[in-house]
């Protein structure tokens, strides 16, 4: 049976994800020529009924890159942008003007997916070192949909077995200015258990 609450270990988890986010931020700076960095918003454990309010994705369409960590110990990572910010990132990475076409080209999609790959690898490296289990990400896929609906699906596996949801959220900055991008990391049940065991062993 899954541990019902992480409450006593949240501070420890905060430090773990802080380190993972720092690694991801270094990778992101390298990928964007020093323009963009990341900060951990926090690791939260909260009732499912409070998630919609806490993460405030709203009910607008978002551009997202989703990666699933495959295997028994896994989870999902969702990188979200509003349309404008997603276009700006793609244009910056491709050294092109911001596209005004309603359709995303294969190249633009690929640039965003590669960003997801880079971030997920940085997070996975930090997590793998801590929990001692090799994590394998799926190829990233590009999706445009309502952000809340995609996050909802990612939370399902945890919601099936626990009253409280563990979620890690991160925001991005460009030269100190906050961007409307987010990364959500949602571990599955086995990863929650692996993290809990690692926290217990380390404390």
């Amino acid at each position: 049976m899954m541990q019902e609450t992480f409450e006593p270990a949240l501070e420890f988890l905060q430090q773990l994800f802080q380190a993972a986010t720092a690694e991801a931020s270094v990778a992101m700076r390298r990928w964007t020529h020093g323009q963009i960095s990341l900060d951990l918003n926090g690791v939260q454990e909260l009732p499912l009924e409070e998630v919609s309010t806490a993460v405030s994705l709203g009910d607008e369409l978002l551009t997202m890159v989703v990666l699933t960590f495959q295997g028994e110990v896994g989870g999902d990572m969702i990188l979200t942008f509003d349309e404008n910010n997603g276009r700006q990132l793609a244009a910056a990475l491709l050294h092109r003007p911001v596209s005004e076409s309603p359709e995303w080209t294969a190249l633009e999609r690929s640039a965003l997916c590669e960003t997801g790959n880079i971030l997920s690898c940085a997070y996975l490296n930090a997590l793998t070192r801590f929990i001692g289990v090799e994590l394998v990400p799926s190829p990233p896929y590009f999706v445009q949909d309502y952000g809340a609906s995609v996050l909802e699906q990612a939370l399902m596996v945890q919601a099936a077995q626990a009253d409280r949801i563990l979620i890690c959220s991160t925001t991005f900055h460009r030269e100190g200015e906050a961007l409307n991008w987010n990364v959500f990391f949602v571990p599955n049940v086995a990863m929650r258990a692996a993290i809990a065991a690692a926290v217990e062993a380390a404390s």
Partner: protein
């Protein structure tokens, strides 16, 4: 939020995962649904309605938040509506959601399970489903209009439809 106890008439109410709300004409209730299923119950004579954002099919006997599971959400909505004078007689349901957002190959097909559980819960209390927009692989933004009882469903790249 378990249930919005005040009856909203003007300000739209946004209902998140596992939440429920009640409103009356000319109010509106909105929600974004993925694999969850939204249940909108409407009583035409009193123009009172209630909405639940159902996350999972069944409580499996566990004590939990009533709107989170299909088997407890329907009775809870009916009780809330009865307290406002809306009886089961004449009540109709519209349901939407139950998508498989990450494809349909995995072991946890929660969208389909939610649809089946919601249908069963409504059948158990003999409330007819007069409109539905279910399944698929896309999220939905729904708006439940308490003036007409209709629900507008929007999905990416598709024309809005009213059920």
């Amino acid at each position: 939020m378990g249930l919005e106890t005040s009856i909203a008439t003007v300000k739209p109410i946004s209902v998140g995962m596992g939440q429920m709300a009640i409103a009356k004409r000319p109010g509106t209730i909105t929600s974004v649904l993925g694999s969850c299923v939204g249940i909108a119950l409407f009583h035409p004579r009193t123009a009172i309605g209630a909405f639940a954002h159902v996350v999972m099919p069944s409580t499996a006997g566990k004590q939990s938040h009533p709107a989170r599971h299909a088997d407890t959400a329907v009775p809870h909505l009916l009780q809330a509506l009865a307290e406002q004078g809306a009886t089961t007689f004449g009540m109709v349901a519209r349901i939407a959601g139950g998508a498989s957002m990450f494809g349909s190959g995995g072991p946890l097909q929660i969208g389909e399970a939610n649809i089946a559980a919601v249908r069963a819960a409504l059948a158990a209390v003999r409330i007819p489903i007069v409109g539905q927009d279910l399944g698929g692989v896309k999220g939905r933004r729904v708006t439940f209009d308490l003036t007409t009882g209709a629900m507008t469903v929007e999905a990416v790249g598709e024309a809005a439809r009213t059920i």
